[in-house]
């Protein structure tokens, strides 16, 4: 009799183990689902792992439907692990993971706050700089010249004087021409952009009016310039 009960017990236990727990892995599922929802923040920047976790979760849910509770549990645990890893990645890689949409919106707000300088009657006129011995307008200064053109077109009654300068090195005589050429290149660009030539005066001061009296590269750069001055 004892032998038969033992065999029955063992068989029952074996069958229990063979057919797994009759209960679905509720706790594991809950943890996995919660972890996966949290991992949504890494959806874009850790895309590969997120999709993998998603696949595992779907598989786990399927296993539940098929009553493969052990397999399901295993999968739910894997989902949690992966999801936690995705959250960790997001926390350690802010540059990649911060949602771009948010940043863009911020920038747009800033731009909206600043008024259009070309419409500002009290605009602080830009200073255009030049390379040594040169008088062509550099690429990096073109936007400033265009801004002045827009300003002149907005304020049609305004007359400006462009003053051209050179740094102290080299011939006093030649520097007068360099200063003049710098002013007239800027004037020509304004005319090209639609400004009436009669509204633009030019004068050269050669090397006689530096903004920085020092004798070094920084000072010389500052002094090689064309400045705009209001005539009226």
């Amino acid at each position: 009799m004892k032998k038969q009960v033992s065999i029955l017990l063992i068989t029952a236990i074996a069958l229990t183990f063979a057919f797994g727990c009759a209960k679905p892995p509720k706790a594991e599922r809950e943890l996995a689902e919660k972890a996966f929802r949290s991992a949504a923040i890494g959806k874009d920047c850790d895309k590969e792992n997120y999709l993998a976790a998603e696949e595992l979760l779907n598989k786990a849910r399927e296993e539940i439907n098929n009553k493969n509770y052990d397999k399901a549990k295993e999968l739910f645990l894997k989902v949690k692990e992966k999801s936690d890893a995705i959250v960790k990645y997001y926390q350690t890689h802010p540059d990649e993971c911060l949602p771009k949409k948010e940043v863009e919106e911020e920038v747009e707000e800033d731009v909206e706050e600043i008024a259009n300088p070309a419409e500002d009657p009290d605009l602080d006129f830009p200073v255009i700089h030049f390379e040594l011995d040169q008088y062509d307008i550099r690429g990096e200064d073109m936007a400033q010249v265009e801004l002045m053109a827009k300003w002149m077109l907005n304020f049609e009654e305004k007359v400006v004087r462009i003053e051209g300068h050179a740094d102290e090195r080299g011939s006093v005589d030649y520097n007068m021409s360099l200063g003049e050429k710098r002013a007239s290149e800027v004037k020509n660009k304004l005319i090209q952009l639609g400004v009436d030539a009669k509204r633009i005066k030019i004068v050269s001061y050669g090397e006689e009016k530096p903004v920085d009296p020092a004798s070094n590269d920084e000072a010389w750069y500052e002094n090689r310039r064309a400045e705009f001055k209001r005539v009226n």
């Binding site: 011995d133 011939s171 006093v172 005589d173 007068m176 021409s177």
Partner: protein, 433 residues
């Protein structure tokens, strides 16, 4: 006449003619002039109040002899004989011992008008070659000494050294103040011709040396004026829109060439200063500036960046389509000045290390020689009226000062050092007594 009489007469002639026929020419060997050792014994005076004047006259003669380039002026500290030694007591052996070939002795006596006696001796022959006595006010005695130097140099070399009788104009910038200053070639007799808080630039003499052309921002535009050096009367010469600068005088005393940018770009024009008539000389998009007339007025040396960088060119005034490029080396050549003898054009050149130096272009050989090197920044040369010397500005002592040099560059002397920047000197075109 008996043969004996003839012999006696002949011997007598020989004795008296000797000094007149002494051969004391400066040696010329292998095409170069070897320097003649000259001892300038300090001018002696027994009157204490004339000590400074005698010392100034000695220094002036030493500098002038040195600048001519013919002499090696010996150091007076090595001399064995004292200045007060009278001419009939000179022991020429002591002068031979210091390697002197020629000896200058001078004596200064006081009075209402002091008297200066100057002598030149040939040391080897122990013979007096030149003697002059001058009686003048103290101020004029130094000029008299220069006359002596010029006469002696002519006697020895056949060359006239009139640089000693001319003046130099330049601009001094000091704490926002601009001045046009003139001075004797040696830096003495300085006169402020004009000064202003507004920019003054680029002085140049008229053909007769009586006026100076300059640019001023008096009317808030760079306009060209002339000022009479004596009366200080100022006249507006050119006030077109844009630049009116860089005048150079035609020998006819009426026309000038100058830079105007009224037609949209810096170009050269000829202006009749009497009628105001204008003739355009250049026509291109490049910067054309810094004109300098040849002595006959037929050509103009100038600067143009039509090749991409500023270089020296020549244009013919009667055929302005004839333009010749003179410099090819470097990327920055400026401020040409034609020598009054028409043989050279001096200019500023920037070398590959960004140093500025004085160069001379020989028009017939087309060879360029360098006058300054490794002496900081040197700019804007101008020839003396005898084409022997150049004046230029140099900042080798910290800030811009005025220097003289012979054409070779081995005899350089500073003649003006002020508190401000002394720049763009111009040597007067002729002797101004």
């Amino acid at each position: 006449m008996s043969i004996y009489s003839r012999l006696i007469i002949f011997a007598f002639l020989l004795l008296t003619a000797g000094p007149l026929l002494s051969q004391v020419k400066v040696e010329v060997t292998d095409g170069t002039i070897s320097e003649y050792n000259l001892a300038v014994s300090p001018v002696h005076t027994s009157e204490k109040e004339l000590n400074e004047l005698s010392s100034n006259i000695t220094k002036a003669m030493e500098m002038a002899f040195n600048l001519t380039g013919f002499f090696n002026v010996l150091d007076s500290r090595s001399f064995l004989e004292k200045p007060q030694t009278k001419v009939n007591e000179i022991d020429f052996k002591t002068w031979m011992n210091v390697s002197a070939k020629g000896l200058i002795k001078g004596y200064l006596k006081g009075g209402a008008k002091p008297e200066l006696e100057l002598y030149f001796f040939d040391v080897a022959e122990g013979k007096k070659i030149l003697q002059k006595t001058y009686k003048a006010s103290p101020k004029m005695l130094k000029k008299a000494a220069y006359r002596f130097v010029n006469e002696l140099v002519y006697l020895l070399t056949g060359e006239e050294m009139t640089f000693m009788f001319s003046r130099i104009a330049f601009v001094e910038k000091k704490k926002g103040m601009y001045s046009i200053i003139t001075m004797d070639f040696d830096g003495s007799n300085k006169k402020i011709v004009h000064s202003s808080k507004k920019i003054l630039l680029l002085p140049e003499w008229s053909a007769d040396g009586k006026k100076i052309f300059f640019t001023s921002y008096e009317k808030n535009n760079p306009n060209l004026y002339s000022i009479d050096v004596r009366s200080k009367r100022i006249r507006l010469v050119s006030s077109y829109e844009g630049l009116n600068t860089s005048a150079t005088a035609h020998p006819d005393g009426k026309n000038i060439a100058l830079r105007l940018s009224k037609d949209g770009n810096a170009e050269l024009y000829m202006l009749d200063t009497v009628s105001g008539k204008l003739k355009r000389l250049t026509r291109n998009m490049a910067i054309d500036t810094a004109p300098s007339f040849s002595p006959d007025g037929k050509e103009i040396a100038f600067v143009s960046n039509r090749s991409g960088n500023p270089h020296i060119y020549r244009v013919w005034t009667n055929n302005t389509s004839r333009v010749e490029r003179l410099t090819v080396q470097g990327k920055y050549n400026q401020d040409p000045d034609y020598s009054p003898d028409g043989k050279y054009i001096a200019f500023t050149g920037r070398d590959e290390f960004y140093n500025f130096d004085i160069f001379i272009f020989n028009i017939s050989t087309r060879v360029i020689s360098r006058v300054t090197q490794k002496q900081s920044k040197n700019e804007t040369p101008s020839f003396s009226p005898d084409s022997k010397l150049l004046v230029f500005s140099s900042n080798r002592k910290g800030h811009n000062a005025i220097y003289l040099s012979n054409v070779k560059g081995d005899k350089q002397v500073m003649v003006y050092y002020g508190n401000g920047e002394a720049i763009t000197p111009a040597w007067s075109p002729q002797v101004i007594k």
